[in-house]
């Protein structure tokens, strides 16, 4: 199993500012996934972050809005840039184990005023 420490757990931000979310994993993993969960909705994959290469973004998500860093095999950050109220969501990082089950951080609940 993998244990993921995600922070912050929640934040309230002003429109136009940026927030960086961090995820630290207790073991080395190849891929890390970043998800967004809008209120009352399911999880939508934002991007897949591989160490040593550019993140792969899903349709509808762009690097300028959601830059991702993956400096090593245990750490990643997601930045939500130039925030608007529409960005209010829960953001979750996850890793997979042997390409099968996913382990999740506890999530970051973001509210943008």
């Amino acid at each position: 199993s993998a244990v993921i420490s995600q922070k912050p757990s929640r934040d309230i931000c002003q429109r136009g500012t940026s927030l960086t979310i961090q995820c630290q994993v207790d073991s080395q993993v190849t891929m890390m996934f970043w998800y967004r969960q809008q209120p009352g909705q399911s999880l939508t994959l934002i991007a897949t972050a591989n160490q040593g290469s550019e993140a792969t973004y899903e349709s509808g998500f762009v690097i300028d809005k959601f830059p991702i860093s993956r400096p090593n095999l245990t750490f990643s950050t997601l930045t939500v840039s130039n925030m608007s109220p529409e960005d209010s969501s829960i953001y979750l990082c996850s890793v997979d184990q042997q390409g099968e089950k996913l382990f999740f951080g506890s999530g970051t609940q973001l509210s943008v005023l």
Partner: protein
């Protein structure tokens, strides 16, 4: 997209009753997994069923998979108030991971 669809979207039962949730998907999968989410926090993996399996049990959980119908069901037996949560199915196909819409289960004491 192989986005899964769960039904029902919401389910309310009494403690002790069984809860059944269904998931349908559109494309071929390698495996299908069920996750639980409490109060909008991180998801917890419950059970995984591979594409060559038809049924699997884990404690009070029973999951079935019908690849011909591209559907799966999750049964929670003898439900408890602590089972109140959102339940999501996840289909995996290679590196593609797509969550279903989720079922909000409420178990009333």
């Amino acid at each position: 997209s192989q986005q899964g669809e769960e039904d029902p979207q919401a389910l309310s039962i009494q403690e002790g009753e069984n809860a059944t949730m269904n998931c349908s998907y559109k494309t071929s999968i390698n495996n299908l997994q069920w996750y639980r989410q409490n109060s909008g926090r991180g998801l917890v993996h419950l059970i995984l069923i591979r594409s060559n399996e038809r049924e699997k049990h884990s404690g009070r959980l029973r999951v079935t998979l019908d690849t011909s119908k591209k559907s799966s069901s999750l049964l929670i037996t003898a439900s408890r108030a602590a089972d109140t949560a959102s339940y999501f199915c996840l289909g995996t196909s290679g590196s593609r991971l797509t969550f279903g819409e989720g079922t909000q289960l409420t178990v009333n004491p």
